[in-house]
């Protein structure tokens, strides 16, 4: 290969100090590369591999059509800064998705810009901030239940709020504690409903009333929207701002951690604060609307994760009115599996009806030296991905199970059977699990201690 400063067109840019001499990236054949990655994929468990009841994450099946529609060159080779007249298809999808999300959540307007749930939360908090700034009210606090996702306090803090955590009562919001915490300092109360224990906050209307009375906003963390699709809407419950996780509720794949999408919806009085640009429709043509002086501005580089938005839109079209059967099946599956596990001998704190997920406490296994993590690892040997463990924080040795609507009764029965067997297995077998995975129990403490983060350090 020629030296860079010998190539006529570009040589003038290569003064000696700028030219890179070393680049330690191997030259491989395509055959070697494909073999490597195929091997890696075989050491990875996805929803398509098997049951993935990771609580709170809604690991539902991702219909294959979603992948196909997003592979269109009229998406993959479309630039975000193209003239509006040449991206009418994208704008139409965005506009229609916004309208569908408004109907599903009972909100008045949506922004599709946030790239993930937590990003939506931050956007929502910035909207709350802008709202109170415009009203000339200084409100510095955001109230959050102790059962909330970690992203809630982190997002509120990032937007500059002080986080006030209130304790739960019987696994739900303690109305008394909430009333006590609410004041003219409160900007918002952030709530997941159903909450992280899978319990529907049935005092939601009183909660909304109290929050409103204090002049604060009610924020809906949409992580668990799947449970109430077509059954109830956050907008009707009195929420002012919501975010939805398209990668949870609307079946777009989780991608090993992302991309997701976290659109934010608001009631009409907050619409002007939404990120710009907004997509508007006029006489069948679509436009970007930038001229909104009250808007918080932008929260991501362009208009959000369009390919994810498109997949979610395809899912909504596929389900249509039948979206409510998604919630029905998800809730039925969760309650069925909970009963099965309870009868097998597992403890369900705050026992009662659940929505789409439930949390076991494995604390009573502690006396024989078994912890939630041991049961989780042993499940791997039975071919199941473990549930979420040690969350929510208000349950000791928490084991958080979300079966989703897509699993059959047979799968749930098999899982329950495995769980029952594990309960009676030799402690040593559990402590040393897994025994059948590509690697044995991974030493996570050592990873922190030695901190080897690149191949150079290996």
């Amino acid at each position: 290969m020629k030296l860079l400063n010998e190539i006529e067109e570009i040589k003038e840019d290569f003064v000696p100090e700028v030219e890179r001499k070393e680049l330690n990236i191997p030259n491989l054949t395509e055959r070697e590369v494909v073999k490597h990655f195929l091997h890696l994929s075989q050491m990875n468990y996805g929803v398509d591999t098997g049951f993935y009841p990771l609580g709170s994450c809604t690991m539902k099946y991702n219909p294959k059509l979603l992948e196909r529609v997003a592979k269109n060159e009229k998406v993959s080779f479309v630039h975000p800064l193209q003239d509006e007249s040449t991206v009418q298809g994208c704008l139409e999808i965005m506009h229609k998705l916004e309208r569908a999300l408004c109907e599903i959540t009972g909100m008045d307007a949506f922004s599709l810009q946030p790239c993930a749930g937590a990003h939506g939360e931050l956007t929502g908090m910035l909207i709350a901030k802008a709202y109170f700034e415009e009203k000339g009210e200084e409100r510095s606090q955001v109230i959050i239940p102790d059962s909330a996702h970690g992203t809630n306090p982190a997002s509120a803090k990032m937007a500059g709020f002080e986080v006030i955590e209130i304790p739960s009562k019987e696994g739900k919001v303690d109305l008394k504690a909430l009333k006590h915490a609410l004041s003219n300092e409160t900007a918002a109360f952030m709530l997941t409903n159903p909450n992280t224990l899978g319990i529907f906050e049935n005092e939601i209307l009183e909660i909304a009333k109290e929050v409103r009375k204090a002049g604060a906003l009610l924020y809906y963390d949409g992580a668990n929207l799947n449970a109430i699709l077509g059954k109830a809407r956050p907008g009707d419950m009195g929420f002012d701002i919501v975010h939805v996780n398209l990668h949870k509720t609307f079946a777009t794949p989780h991608g090993g951690g992302g991309p997701g999408a976290g659109p934010v919806g608001v009631k009409s009085y907050l619409e002007k604060f939404l990120p710009i640009p907004r997509v508007i429709e006029k006489d069948g043509k679509y436009y970007f609307h930038y001229d909104e002086p009250s808007s918080i501005g932008m929260v991501s580089h362009f208009y959000g994760n369009f390919a994810v938005l498109l997949k979610a839109y395809a899912y909504i079209l596929m389900k249509g009115k039948e979206l409510k059967s998604v919630a029905e099946k998800a809730v039925l599956n969760a309650n069925y599996l909970m009963e099965k596990l309870r009868k097998a001998g597992y403890h369900v704190p705050f026992y009662g009806r659940r929505m789409h997920e439930f949390v076991l406490s494995l604390a009573n296994l502690r006396e024989k030296g078994v912890r939630a993590i041991d049961v989780a690892k042993r499940l791997l040997d039975y071919g199941f991905h473990p549930p979420t463990i040690y969350f929510p924080l208000i349950v000791d040795e928490a084991f958080m199970i979300e079966p989703t609507e897509d699993e059959s009764k047979e799968t749930l029965d098999e899982f329950a059977e495995a769980m029952e067997k594990i309960l009676h297995e030799n402690v040593d077998l559990l402590k040393k699990a897994p025994h059948t995975m590509p690697v044995g129990r991974v030493n996570e403490a050592l990873a922190i201690k030695q901190l080897i983060l690149t191949w150079k350090e290996l």
């Binding site: 030219e19 998406v75 390919a307 409510k324 099946k329």
Partner: protein
Amino acid sequence: MREMLEYLGIKSIEELFEDIPEEIRIDGLNLPPAKEEMEVEMEIKKILEKNKSFFDMPHFLPIIKPHYIPAAVEEIVGRQEFYTSYTPYQPEASQGILQAMFEYQSVVCELTGMDVANVSMYDSATALAEACLMAYRIKKKKKILIPSNIFWNKKSVLKNYAKGVGLEIVEVGINKDGKMNLDMDEEDVSAIYIENPNFFGVIDNRYKEIQEMKERLDAMLIVGTDPLYLTIFNPPSKYGADIVIGEGYFGNPLNFGGPLLGIFACKKEHVRQMPGKIVGATVDANGNRAFCMTLQTREQHIRRSKATSNICSNEALLCIAFLAYTAVLGRSGLRKVAIKNMENAKYMANELEKIGFLLPYKNFFNEFVAISPIKAEKLNEQLLEKGIHGGLIIDEYIKNGILFGVTEMHSKNTMDEAVKKMKEILEEENETAK
């Protein structure tokens, strides 16, 4: 389903929803009936037909640009075991993605010259914002210096993220070479942000001066850069970068601007202040090599309001595409693409100069500013009518300035055709003026 209901001792599914107060319970949504797969595919295809892709209409837009994605990359990213998995909280079931992430971190560190990289921010705009917050956590000084010519969307995102802790964003002017002034004297600065190449496409080779400014202000240096550029130009570590951010477009399509991959890398001494997920090497119970997420105590699910960031879902799958792209192309392939990009950009710029455009800055990689001899807006409008999409008009910064982006996908033919049509427009314009 009946069997399951019986097991629960209930008669209907409705009973499961009785916790929802009756006054807000609904029975279904006002949406169209469910559709068959084929109908959905056709309906969406029909809507998307209204778009014009790069192949329907070549364009010269900058910031993110069309690049060729080898077929093997698409196949690798399409592996269901990857794309249907989630954040690898159970490492024994996720060694594949964990090793891929470890390799991604390694490649990013190799390219940027940094010691550690996280496995993505949402995009380069949020990566910049998070970098500024991180610098503030380390330096605890209120100001961030940025060049006055950064992309307006990026600036808006940064301002939003800066609100929480009340960072003051100070814009630094641009000199006649299109580069940020480095003689600024300013108190209370946590970080200086420099782009290389910058928003005007200009390559900055003032390595010594950049480092001097950083030392003078006792600030951290954040560099925004481009991974392809880094395959032939020296990495930001050569001029004192503490944090490097960028758009990780390797192997990832444009997708109308999302999802994107925000590259985020830094020096190891700052790793505990880093946002996002990090994968480390360790061993399993049998002493064999294994990988897992590490330093999770920085993150929201453990540290809650004291976390370094609120980020949870990220852009992990795009990291795999990035990694697979670098693997398929290899060192030689990457450098070849980089040189091709540069050659094409130089060719296009030269041709534009020949028909009357002014090139204010000569040193550039694959984006450059050309000043249109007629009103930029008018030029782009007429060009669009002729089936070609021009570059990005940057009137805010340079009157009638157009920022062009050119890659390996712009064939000589495409460029010649575009220049020919611009020439026609300019000539017609001349005629009318006469």
